[in-house]
């Protein structure tokens, strides 16, 4: 009879210990037909020596290394972490609730602010989801531009991750190198959509703006120079003995555990699971691009580092292909349900003016239904879930935040390691609190 063993903590609400101070844990065997049998409790190992008084320490919410307002309550035995409780919610803005009172296009600025390192990627992801709900097709130029936007924002996010992780482990210089490159990407975005961080670049059914004259040349220049910076950072860290010593065998998640915790993105791929939404549930014609999905083998912090650095290179590859295939044509869909008429016609033509007025004041109405669209954000599988009752505003708009799910594994990864490792592991998750608290 096939059995699965799992350990269940019983008697919640009590201290969870018996009279000898042992944890009350009842391992159970769950059989296929659902009946439960109890096993012998596992023998406790030798007591750790010098188990003195434990120290409770707060990392955050204001701390240089928590990447936002994450608060980790750590119970330390010496410098070894025996318990880690993450507290979130310090950056709660109610994006999802606000979304229920906004038309679809009006929600787009809020998507800038949830994962603010990936704002243009979020815009694209939101629009893809909303378009599937509306049943709108976008023209090919728009699709390619959105691929460029997605990959640029992946580069931004990974560069921030690389830089801040370096700082967390004490190497300051790659931080500034990678931030210089990030600055170059932001300059590109600025000349495209006018904003750097809060881009709001897409609309349901198209883009807010087409790329300006000569923009692809700037992008080509960036693609030429950027890999040099990646190589420099790579040289500084990948074979550095201290870096390897700080990151290998740290916060290991096996493929099984990673899947069980629902991890996605580089966190999951570092554990050896080649799951990439771009490959497995392609959107924006990603299946037609030639790129590799880097996969780690050990699932430790070092593998996550390698995976992300390789993803920077793969993103550059995708960008190069996207520029080459960028077609001419409109960036907006011709579907009048979601797209405003041209301003000149709205000012001269009665029907167009009414159409413009209705679109702006009431907003486009999707059919009744619900849709979930996952995309591969830099942090992992990001999904937007919409429930529509046929009105111009979503009844429910829900974000599947990869940072949030990935962060849930931090206790598992951290416990048993040292205080310094908490910082490295936390950095390796690549969290953005805006996305976690929403």
């Amino acid at each position: 009879m096939a059995t699965k063993t799992r350990t269940v903590e019983v008697a919640l609400g009590t201290a969870g210990v018996d009279s000898d101070g042992r944890a009350v844990r009842t391992p159970m065997t769950v059989t296929e037909n659902g009946s439960v049998t109890t096993l012998e409790p596992p023998a406790l190992g030798a007591a750790p020596e010098l188990a003195g008084e434990h120290m409770l320490i707060n990392i955050g919410p204001q701390h240089p290394a928590t990447h936002g307002v994450l608060r980790l309550v750590l119970e330390l035995d010496g410098e070894t972490v025996v318990r880690c409780i993450p507290h979130i919610g310090y950056l709660h803005c109610g994006f999802e609730k606000i979304g229920e009172y906004r038309q679809y296009n009006q929600v787009i600025p809020w998507t800038d602010r949830e994962d603010y390192l990936n704002s243009i990627g979020n815009n694209v992801a939101f629009s893809i989801g909303a378009e599937r709900l509306f049943g709108v097709e976008v023209p090919p130029r728009c699709t390619v531009l959105r691929v460029i936007a997605m990959e640029l924002s992946r580069i931004i996010s990974h560069l921030v991750w690389l830089g801040t992780t370096c700082i967390d482990l004490g190497a300051f210089t790659p931080f500034l190198w990678s931030f210089q490159e990030r600055e170059n990407v932001y300059n590109l975005l600025e000349s495209w959509v006018g904003a750097r961080l809060t881009t709001s670049a897409t609309r349901v059914g198209g883009m807010a703006a087409d790329i300006p004259e000569g923009w692809t040349d700037q992008l080509r220049h960036f693609i030429r120079t950027f890999p040099k910076t990646v190589d420099e950072c790579d040289r500084m860290l990948t074979k550095n003995g201290i870096w390897i010593g700080r990151t290998t065998a740290l916060g290991v998640m096996s493929a099984n555990e990673a899947i069980n915790y629902g991890l996605s993105g580089p966190m999951l791929r570092a554990s050896g699971v080649a799951y990439d939404v771009r490959k497995d549930f392609p959107y924006l014609d990603y299946e037609t691009y030639d790129f590799d999905v880097p996969v780690g083998s050990n699932g430790d912090v070092y593998d996550r580092f390698l995976v992300r650095v390789e993803e920077l290179r793969q993103s550059t590859r995708i960008l190069a292909q996207a520029i080459d295939r960028l077609p001419d044509g409109p960036v907006n869909s011709s579907d009048h349900r979601v797209i405003l008429p041209p301003k000149s016609r709205a000012m001269s033509d009665m029907e167009s003016m009414i159409h413009h007025f209705k679109q702006v004041m009431e907003g486009p109405r999707p059919p009744i239904g619900e849709v979930y669209v996952p995309v591969e954000s830099p942090k992992g599988e990001k999904g937007y879930y919409f429930v529509s009752d046929g009105t111009a505003k979503p009844v429910r708009w829900r974000i599947r935040p990869p940072s949030y799910v990935n962060l849930s594994a931090i206790s598992k990864m951290v416990e048993g390691h040292l205080l310094s490792d908490v910082i490295a592991i936390n950095a390796s998750i690549d969290i953005v609190m805006g996305e976690i608290d929403r």
Binding site: A15, G16, V17, G21, R22, A23, P42, L44, G45, A46, A47, P48, A51, H54, M55, I57, H63, P64, A65, E75, D77, E79, T80, V82, R83, I167, D168, L169, G170, A171, F172, T173, L176, W177, Q180, M236, L237, K239, N240, G241, I242, W243, I244, G245, R246, T247, T248, A249, L250, V301, E415, G416, H417, L418, L419, S420, D421, V422, I423, A424
Partner: protein
């Protein structure tokens, strides 16, 4: 045997000058006070400029410009920083133990300055009152003095960590005390090899020995390596900046400090760097020796000789200070336990074995009557023989202790069951405490 060699080899162990012509009495006192004032001033201004240099060098490494608003090219930036620190409010946390909280920066600051006192920084200068020695205090036990005083600096850090009554500060203080004590041993042991070669603990004698024989860095290559690593740890500089570890412990032991008290820790760090660099120069790079000539080692002690040797000393010093900064902006940080195992499991056994090897080699070379003084092509056979031995050892060492073998990976030290047990213990305690009250 060694003593006999020392006595019979005047080039190596001769004196710079006859003690009878040294400056004495009132002029001696005045000169000493003058030297103290000058060295103190130069050191303080130098430290201030070092902070600027650090920022400029880091900017250069990181493709930035660095401070350039205050004064020409940012030259007045240290003055602006100093002024800012003096004008800021001195904060005293409620929970801190105030007497020690105030005392700690001083305890950190003072030893870092007074260690410089015994370092000879130039050739002696002949004046009309006699010959003036160019170190603030020519102590015959110079090196022991440095070991003794520089180890006092750790008290400042520990007390700062403890008296702040802050968990981060405490962890920083604990780490630093463990780290500095561990690496002090390796540092002292590595320096013993220099003492074996020079047969004297006076820094003047060590400089002199190198002038006669050649710089110690070649015959004591591994000793220099160990000393260099340990002095990085001693000065709490990256990759050993555990006590501050800004991303983990906010600012470590000086989290609670502000204004001038914070500045004192800062000055202490930089003057420790200067002293450690000066020590490396003195013990391994010939001190104020000008390489390739004996002109600077022989009387008359003119002002030109003084100025040139001083310039060479400063140049070597600046090279090491640059090395400190270069490494800081290049490497990531060790983890605390990796650092301790590097200190205790690698550097300490290495330095102990090295003492035995060096002692044996020196004894053997002396028994074989290998001359220490310069013989052919300006090279001392003794120096060359020991150097070749070190080169071989260094190659072996660096192959054996290649990366990945010194630093252990960051495995979890506890099994899940041990973690559960530890958790249960604390839960039991808190339960008992809540029921007891």
């Amino acid at each position: 045997m060694i003593l006999a060699t020392m006595a019979s080899d005047p080039v190596v162990y001769g004196t710079f000058y006859d003690p009878a012509v040294a400056v004495t009495a009132l002029p001696w006192l005045l000169f000493t006070i003058l030297k103290m004032v000058i060295v103190f001033t130069v050191l303080m201004v130098g430290v201030a400029m070092l902070t600027l240099a650090e920022r400029k060098i880091s900017a250069w490494i990181q493709d930035r410009i660095g401070p350039n608003r205050t004064g020409y090219g940012g030259l007045l930036q240290p003055a602006a920083d100093g002024l800012k620190n003096i004008m800021k409010e001195e904060t005293y946390p409620d929970a801190a133990y105030t007497p020690l909280f105030i005392l700690a920066p001083m305890l950190s600051f003072i030893p870092s300055l007074i260690t410089f006192a015994v370092i000879p920084f130039a050739a002696p200068l002949s004046t009309r009152w006699g010959i003036v020695e160019m170190s603030v205090a020519n102590v015959p036990i110079g090196f022991l003095y440095i070991l003794a005083i520089s180890s006092l600096g750790v008290y400042g850090i520990v007390l700062a960590g403890w008296s702040s009554n802050n968990k981060y500060s405490l962890l920083g203080g604990l780490r630093s005390s463990a780290q500095m004590i561990s690496y002090e041993i390796s540092m002292g042991m590595a320096a013993v090899s220099v003492l074996l070669l020079s047969g004297n603990v006076s820094l003047q004698a060590i400089v002199q020995q190198q002038q006669g024989m050649g710089w110690n860095v070649f015959p004591l290559l591994i000793g220099f390596f160990i000393f260099c690593v340990a002095s990085f740890a001693e000065t709490n500089r990256l990759p050993f900046d555990m006590p501050e570890a800004e991303s983990e412990l906010i600012a470590g032991y000086h989290t609670e400090y502000s204004a001038m008290k914070f500045s004192m820790f800062f000055i202490a760090e930089y003057s420790n760097m200067v002293t450690a660099s000066a020590l490396m120069v003195t013990l391994f790079f010939g001190g104020w020796d000008i390489p390739g000539t004996q002109w600077d080692n022989l009387p008359p002690w003119t002002f030109l000789k003084f100025a040139l040797t001083l310039a060479f000393f400063v140049a070597k010093l600046l090279f090491f200070l640059f090395l400190y900064m270069w490494i800081r902006w290049t490497l990531p940080r060790f983890r605390y336990d990796q650092l301790m195992s590097l200190g205790w499991k690698v550097l300490l056994p290495l330095s102990l074995a090295y003492i035995v090897i060096t002692g044996g080699a020196v004894l053997a070379l002396d028994m074989l009557q290998v001359p220490r003084s310069v013989q052919w092509f300006g090279i001392s056979p003794f120096w060359a023989a020991l150097g070749v031995l070190n080169l071989v050892l260094a190659v072996l060492l660096f192959v054996l202790l290649d990366r990945g073998r010194i630093i252990s990976p960051a495995y979890s030290r506890l099994s899940p069951i041990q973690i559960a047990r530890l958790r249960a213990m604390s839960a039991g305690r808190s339960l008992a405490a809540s029921q007891g009250d």
